[in-house]
């Protein structure tokens, strides 16, 4: 019996980001298990915007956190894979605020078809382009999962504190949680982030929201563990051994991580993209989403949602 494919990414600022950005984030889709400690946890891409974060440090910017279902150990799952966990994070450095729009994988893209397929057919530029077109924004950074190093990363930081708000029982994902606070290991957080069967009505949509919650929880944990500018340096040095960069250097990674760790997780808004029934199994972007996008693109923050 095949394992369901599980993928998850935690980005810090990575910065921060944010990791920051940076930014700073954790992500997951569908994926597979154990990885060696030397495995690449994720890749941070500079896909647009200013050449250097330091050039316009107060300018709002956007980060795509993307999990794909590729698996180097499975011929049927070649790179770059379907983009099955999609989160667009807006960061406003001037105010220290951040917002996340969680995009269900079956959402119809502006160019037609499911948004997650664009990563498989056209790679990162294609899915970034579709999301930019959908939301009317320019994405500066993308954080993508390599082979699932998620559990190793979460375990290395000592687990992530997260509160479960409703009973979650899903044998396929391994989720078995009652409401309450948890310090989750990599395996547990993976199960939490994969569970969709505990939500008969919302399914993948609620799972997508939970992934956003996992991002915020990871940021909270990392922020607590990495106080101050020196703490960020220590964290970035650790991450850099497991993170690939594309169009960025270590200094930029540090800057992004530092920014991510200054964001207050309690003020991060996590909002699900409103969708309705589309053609076939697609989810159509709801008309109300245009108001959401307008709120997002003016300063990267969702004030009214």
């Amino acid at each position: 019996m095949k394992h369901p494919l599980v993928r998850l990414l935690i980005a810090v600022p990575l910065t921060g980001m944010l990791l920051a950005g940076t930014l700073t984030a954790a992500w997951l889709a569908l994926g597979a298990p154990k990885v060696a400690s030397a495995t690449t946890w994720f890749t941070v891409h500079h896909v647009g915007g200013a050449a250097s974060f330091a050039e316009s440090p107060d300018a709002p910017f956007y980060v795509l956190v993307l999990g794909n279902d590729s698996n180097p150990d499975d011929r049927d799952r070649p790179e770059p894979g379907l983009g099955d966990a999609i989160h667009v994070i807006g960061v406003n450095p001037a105010t220290g605020d951040s917002s996340i729009i969680d995009v269900p994988r079956d959402t119809e893209a502006p160019g037609g078809g499911k948004i997650n397929a664009y990563n498989a057919t056209g790679g990162l530029p294609a899915i970034v382009g579709q999301l930019e077109r959908m939301m009317g924004i320019d994405i500066s950074y993308a954080i993508t999962a390599g082979f699932p190093g998620f559990t190793a990363m979460v375990d290395e930081i000592g687990g992530v504190d997260i509160t479960v708000t409703e009973p979650m029982v899903d044998h396929d994902s391994g989720a078995d949680f009652q409401p309450g606070p948890y310090k989750m290991s990599g395996d547990s957080l993976l199960a939490y982030s994969r569970d969709r069967k505990s939500y008969p009505a919302e399914g993948d949509r609620q799972r997508t929201v939970n992934q956003g919650k996992a991002i915020i929880a990871a940021l909270t944990t990392l922020r607590a563990q990495s106080p101050g500018a020196a703490g960020t340096a220590k964290l970035v040095a650790t991450l850099a051994r497991h993170v690939k960069t594309d169009g960025m250097d270590l200094t930029q990674l540090y800057d992004l991580g530092r920014l991510a760790l200054t964001l207050d997780p309690a003020r991060v808004k996590n909002v699900l993209l409103p969708t309705g029934q589309g053609s076939g199994t697609n989810l159509a972007v709801a008309a109300s989403a245009q108001d959401l996008f307008a709120d997002f693109r003016d300063d990267a923050i969702l004030q009214n949602h």
């Binding site: 440090p57 450095p93 500018a229 020196a230 051994r241 200054t262």
Partner: protein, 199 residues
């Protein structure tokens, strides 16, 4: 009668602080040495010294910040923030000047430095934990300024500049007591204390 003697007027205010480095830690991606190279450390300390002199000492001695000194110490993005609310944290102005006969005294604990080294072994970021106390006798009484926090420095065309900060500044003493006799401010008001900023 009165005024400042030519000899005194020509006297250039003297920087009164020299920072020194304290504990050094390096976090590294590859096989970098466990210390920050001497040339980097020297450049970083020079930048920190220049910043304190330009932002704190010179305003107390001359009545205005040393813009040229700040431009040398601060990266452009940080310098741009001098136009915003963080100015009250970054520089000490709007305060009474030190008496000409009184020294501005700065004591600084050795600066703990933390370096981030890339895979090639080069230190690309240095963080500095600063703790300075500046005292001066002014025409309005004693002034004590305590500034603590972290500064982030990165290389910039052969020098090291401050690119980020988490600072807290606490100004105390008779010199910063609010006055009820002045109705028209002629200079930026001294910031309420303590004030903090992080970027």
């Amino acid at each position: 009668m009165g005024g400042v003697s030519p000899a005194f007027a020509a006297k250039k205010p003297t920087p009164v602080v020299t920072m020194t480095s304290g504990d050094v830690t390096v976090y590294k991606v590859g096989d970098a040495p466990d210390t920050i190279p001497d040339d980097v450390r020297t450049a970083v300390i020079a930048t920190l010294t220049g910043y304190v002199n330009a932002a704190t000492v010179m305003p107390l001695q001359q009545g205005a910040v040393d813009d040229a000194g700040l431009a040398t110490a601060l990266a452009p993005a940080v310098a741009a923030r001098l136009a915003g609310p963080d100015r009250a944290v970054l520089v000490d102005e709007g305060l009474p000047r030190a008496k000409p006969t009184s020294k501005v005294k700065v004591t600084a604990t050795p600066v703990a430095l933390t370096g981030l080294a890339d895979g090639a072994g080069s230190v690309v970021v240095v963080t500095a934990t600063v703790d300075t106390t500046t005292t001066a006798k002014t025409t309005k009484g004693k002034l004590v300024i305590k500034r603590t926090g972290d500064l982030v420095l990165e290389p910039d065309n052969g020098t090291w500049k401050i690119t980020g900060y988490t600072l807290n500044v606490d100004r105390a003493g008779k010199a910063v007591r609010p006055t009820t006799t002045t109705t028209v401010p002629v200079a930026p008001a001294a910031a309420p204390t303590p004030v903090t900023a992080a970027r």
